[in-house]
């Protein structure tokens, strides 16, 4: 059933769900999904006694190659979901599968191997301050032997993000937009199947933010991968194919953003969702 009439460009995503029971419906076949969450919950102690629910019985599936926006107010659980999907922490309950493999069951070397299939982009870039741009880009593969030249691939990625010739620059000598470009290049060094971006433009001015979004869209066309962006910015969400809205850790809406509608209108409608 459409949430909005067709002209707005938003409708319920096929196979999407609001949790309706324990675990909730999980959408499409988890074995074929890039990522499938089933009944995922995570709570944190706050020290004041009352635990905070960061993920509340979350279930959804994402098809390979999807461009998904996780939206919601600050504290709604967007970052927690990204961390859970990226296996940076384990859920209290529920399962996360990637290509049919249960991520939540991975430990040790298998866990590290899974993380290498995931690229992370953070709001504050998280570059290593003592390393040059090129060394930051190749940092994820430093402990490994690769079948390709790390420095050559690092240079090509820096060129792809518009930073050719800045290989030897330190992060402290780069603007926020440039640092985020380095972070994106770093996230792509392993040719990830999944790119997780946590408020990637949150610290950038609107011009740099647009440039970063254009860059991510262009890189996604060249390297097909699933992209999940946590954002509270309607302009970013409106450029995605699907919008998963969170409140207090729970999915409250899962909408497909149909193409072919005026961007401003879509941004306005996404913004009205809150």
């Amino acid at each position: 059933m459409p949430v909005f009439s067709r002209p707005t460009g938003l409708r319920r995503a096929p196979g999407s769900s609001r949790p309706t029971g324990p675990g909730g419906p999980a959408g499409s076949d988890p074995a074929s999904a890039a990522i499938a969450l089933r009944g995922v919950s995570k709570r944190y102690g706050t020290g004041s006694g009352q635990p905070v629910t960061a993920a509340d019985n979350v279930s959804f599936s994402i098809e390979p190659g999807g461009l998904i926006a996780l939206t919601g107010a600050s504290g709604s659980g967007k970052s927690t979901l990204l961390h859970l999907i990226g296996a940076l922490e384990h859920p209290d309950s529920g399962t996360i599968t990637s290509g049919g493999a249960e991520v939540t069951a991975l430990r040790g070397g298998a866990l590290a191997a899974y993380r290498r299939t995931v690229g992370f982009v953070f709001q504050r870039y998280n570059l290593l301050p003592a390393l040059t741009a090129l060394d930051n880009v190749i940092a994820p593969v430093l402990p490994y032997r690769t079948g390709w030249d790390k420095h050559d691939r690092g240079r090509r990625l820096l060129e792809a993000v518009g930073l050719g010739g800045r290989e030897r620059s330190l992060p402290s000598r780069m603007s926020g937009g440039e640092q985020q470009r380095v972070a994106i290049a770093r996230a792509l060094i392993n040719t990830p199947d999944l790119l997780l971006a946590d408020e990637p433009t949150g610290n950038l001015d609107s011009r740099s933010a647009t440039a970063i979004l254009d860059l991510m869209a262009s890189l996604r066309r060249e390297n097909p991968m699933t992209v999940i962006i946590a954002t509270h910015d309607p302009q970013i969400a409106a450029r995605c194919e699907r919008l998963i809205r969170l409140r207090d850790g729970a999915v409250i809406d899962d909408l497909e953003i149909a193409g072919g509608h005026p961007v401003d209108e879509t941004i306005q409608r996404v913004g009205q969702l809150g």
Partner: protein, 128 residues
């Protein structure tokens, strides 16, 4: 020149080694705490725990190497100044001291390296 080793020297050496282990472990713990968000980022890249441990132990070994070499050189110079001559045996002792220093700092780095596993990566990345 003869080199005499007294009982009190053994006690002094033992105390120095223990203090050295504690000092290096403390320095590395502080370093890890300060760089915890960076280490969490590196873990998010998919570095295995063994590679992260090697990073900390290598850092400890380099600290140990720098400190041991500096200490050995100062010791040799001091001994030569106070004794008025240089005994070849002291050079051999200095080499042993450097090797022991590196070994001791590597052992001292094991504790902070082990504690790396407890880094709350997700929270650190959220705070970064």
């Amino acid at each position: 020149m003869t080199v005499q080793i007294r009982g009190v020297d053994y006690i002094a050496v033992t105390a120095t080694v223990i203090l050295g282990v504690l000092a290096v472990a403390d320095a590395l713990l502080i370093s890890i705490t300060e760089r915890a968000p960076e280490l969490a980022t590196i873990r998010a890249f998919g570095w295995p725990e063994a590679a992260l441990r090697r990073l900390v132990i290598t850092e400890g070994a380099l600290i140990g190497m720098a400190g041991s070499v500096a200490g050995a050189v100062l010791g040799l110079v001091g001994a030569a100044v106070f004794a008025g001559q240089f005994a070849p045996l002291l050079f051999a002792a200095a080499c042993v001291a450097v090797a022991t220093g590196v070994l001791v700092t590597c052992v001292a780095a094991l504790l902070p390296a082990h504690l790396l596993r407890r880094l709350p990566a997700a929270q650190l990345l959220a705070q970064e």
